[in-house]
């Protein structure tokens, strides 16, 4: 029982650090003995605490979404940014912004979810058509599909002067998180719990359609549930903070290497590791060029791609 304890302590330390660093100085003394203007408390409540929650929620849900995708596609290298999911969500968001500017955030998010679902379904259809199911070709196809969708997004964004918004959706940046602007992300926690409840089904589904059906489970329904969770999570993260590349690939791969493929056992670990990873990236981004900030998504892109390469080279040609 020591391992969960260690994990909890590490996460708590990271979260504490995340609360204390930033452009405006906040110290524990100021928080616990508020002065006349209690500015420190204000900063904490309005900006730092929401930011910390947003980071942890995004990290947790993206990690679990990646794990689900890997079970659904039965491939270790699939995650929202290597399957066109994230790019489709951005396109959906752009479509909602252009066609229905008055739509509330929730409506935009639903449109983005529908697009993300469509994009992921398209990816799975393409996979079916692939002549040789080489495990390494799958993410390449997903990345290319993503870049095709992305160029469509860029085209329209350029036409209507929305490139900056699109860039904000594609790079995870937590510096703009304030109270009242991120609460949507709490829904992802609920979705993560749903994934945990249905974990055993996903584990079985990861063993293939025939096997699942033989056990008396409804395979298409499990896949549909997984896809809906993934699409919702991706859309919410894109809408509120922007995408974090490769997180859903790195974290589940590292965890399942240690824990095996039982989703029931690995989901909690994926959740905690994902949250810790994004916290760490965000902290690095805030410290490197203090008082300026480098988006956590950029840092995650660097660390994530290095770890991805490491995974690829470790596996070598041995592919599972």
């Amino acid at each position: 029982m020591t391992r969960p304890l260690i994990a909890a302590v590490v996460l708590a330390v990271l979260a504490g650090v995340s609360l204390l660093i930033g452009a405006s100085h906040v110290s524990w003394d100021a928080v616990f003995s508020p002065g006349p203007d209690d500015r420190a408390v204000q900063v904490l409540v309005i900006s730092r605490v929401p930011r910390m929650f947003a980071i942890m929620l995004a990290g947790t849900s993206l990690g679990v979404a990646g794990l689900l995708m890997q079970m659904i596609a039965r491939n270790r290298f699939v995650e929202p940014t290597t399957a066109g999911t994230a790019e489709s969500a951005s396109l959906g968001l752009l479509a909602a912004t252009l066609l229905a500017p008055g739509l509330p955030v929730l409506g935009k998010m639903l449109v983005a979810t529908l697009f993300a679902l469509g994009g992921t379904a398209l990816f799975l259809l393409v996979l079916r058509r692939l002549p040789l199911r080489s495990a390494l070709l799958v993410p390449v196809v997903g990345l290319v599909l993503g870049s095709i969708i992305d160029s469509a997004t860029t085209f329209f964004a350029y036409r209507y002067d929305l490139l900056q918004s699109v860039n904000a959706w594609t790079t995870g940046d937590f510096s703009t998180v304030l109270r009242g602007r991120y609460e949507l992300l709490w829904v992802t926690l609920g979705l993560t719990c749903v994934a945990y409840v249905a974990a055993d089904r996903f584990t079985v589904a990861g063993m293939g359609e025939t096997f699942t059906t033989n056990l008396g489970l409804n395979y298409p329904r499990i896949i549909a549930l997984g896809l809906v969770i993934v699409a919702l999570v991706t859309a919410m993260v894109v809408v509120t903070v922007g995408m974090i590349p490769f997180l859903g690939l790195i974290v589940p791969n590292l965890v399942t290497r240690l824990m095996g493929d039982n989703a029931r056992r690995s989901i909690p670990w994926v959740a905690v590791t994902g949250a810790g990873f994004v916290l760490l990236c965000d902290i690095i981004g805030r410290v490197v060029r203090h008082p300026y900030e480098i988006p956590g998504g950029t840092i995650a892109g660097v660390i994530g791609s290095v770890l991805f390469l490491y995974l690829l080279l470790r596996r070598g040609a041995r592919v599972g």
Binding site: L136, L137, I148, A152, F155, G301
Partner: protein
């Protein structure tokens, strides 16, 4: 090509002539339509755009075909393997080390020379490492290349933000002249470099024809394999630098034109494939620019559309099991 080619097969030489004619027609249209009488302003302005498009097309087409010859694969291209972003990263590192004011004040020839030299060295290192690590698995190579591209891009944008957090966007724009606004000096330098690479490349043409047959056969036929490959890859690095410096990373154009060139020329001789690919690239870029600007009145870069089409072609190639 023997004269005994059957009547049904278009001879590559004739194809080249047709392509050349179409290219000239596109260029003429681009230069002359809707000039509005202000010749003394319009012509030089458009000539510069045209020169950029042709130069970039040439660099991308030739580098892609050569790279595919060396790797023996028609799906890998330098851009897909992340080399465009390697150049961007090198550029960023230079600014990071020297400071943006120093770099802005440097002579373009010197600066570009340093960048290209570094590019040749680093791409040689990356290539050597990649071909050493990945033996025989094209899919692994492809995936590693794509991820490397993401890594280089993230590193570059990270460094750009460290250099000037407030001027990040401005810096990004300065790094990439677009088709609409290539700097004078840069265009000259790029043209000079491309010419130099081409002259050097002439010596390698015949060897390249043999390289297509594969490593063992090439060695059997007396080609100094590793030296030739090293030379070819160095040329590729120079050409990638040229195209990236002028218009920034273009991922799929090379793949598109190279595969089109293979199918229209229907030959393996580089003396015919390379010009065909270059002409197709020029046609694509110039006509794309023309259609977007004059017909649709958009100021969008044709790059976006080419990326879209190229991505589709890439998927089709993967589906067609072209990754032997």
């Amino acid at each position: 090509m023997s004269a005994s080619a059957s009547a049904g097969v278009a001879r590559p030489e004739r194809t080249l002539l047709v392509l050349g004619g179409v290219t000239l027609a596109c260029a003429a249209l681009f230069m002359l339509v809707d000039a509005g009488g202000q010749w003394d302003f319009i012509l030089p302005f458009r000539a510069r755009k045209l020169a950029t498009a042709v130069l970039v097309g040439y660099a991308i087409a030739v580098s892609t075909v050569l790279f595919q010859t060396v790797t023996g694969n028609r799906v890998l291209t330098p851009a897909i393997m992340g080399f465009d972003y390697l150049y961007v990263l090198i550029q960023t590192c230079l600014v990071f080390v020297l400071g943006s004011t120093t770099v802005a004040g440097l002579d373009p020839w010197l600066l570009f020379g340093v960048e290209v030299t570094l590019m040749v060295i680093f791409s040689a290192l990356v290539n050597g490492w990649l071909f050493g690590v990945v033996q025989g698995s094209v899919h692994l190579l492809l995936l590693i290349g794509v991820v490397l591209g993401v890594l280089f891009r993230s590193l570059a944008s990270f460094l750009q933000r460290v250099i000037e957090p407030n001027e990040f966007v401005f810096l990004q724009d300065r790094f990439f002249a677009s088709f609409n606004d290539p700097e004078h000096g840069l265009l000259l330098v790029a043209g000079g470099l491309t010419l130099g690479a081409t002259v050097l490349g002439f010596r390698l043409l015949r060897a390249c024809d043999v390289l297509v047959l594969g490593r063992e056969v090439a060695i059997n036929l007396g080609v100094d394999y590793s030296r030739t490959v090293a030379w070819v890859l160095a040329l590729v690095a120079v050409l990638v630098s040229v195209s990236t410096a002028l218009v920034g990373p273009v991922t799929f154009l090379g793949l598109l034109v190279a595969n089109l060139a293979y199918s229209v020329t229907n030959t393996y001789r580089h003396a015919l494939v390379l010009p065909a690919a270059a002409l197709i690239a020029a046609i694509a870029l110039v006509s794309g620019q023309f259609v977007l600007e004059r017909v649709f009145g958009l100021d969008t870069n044709p790059r976006v559309i080419i990326e879209f089409l190229g991505g589709l072609v890439f998927l089709a190639l993967l589906m067609r099991k072209a990754t032997r």
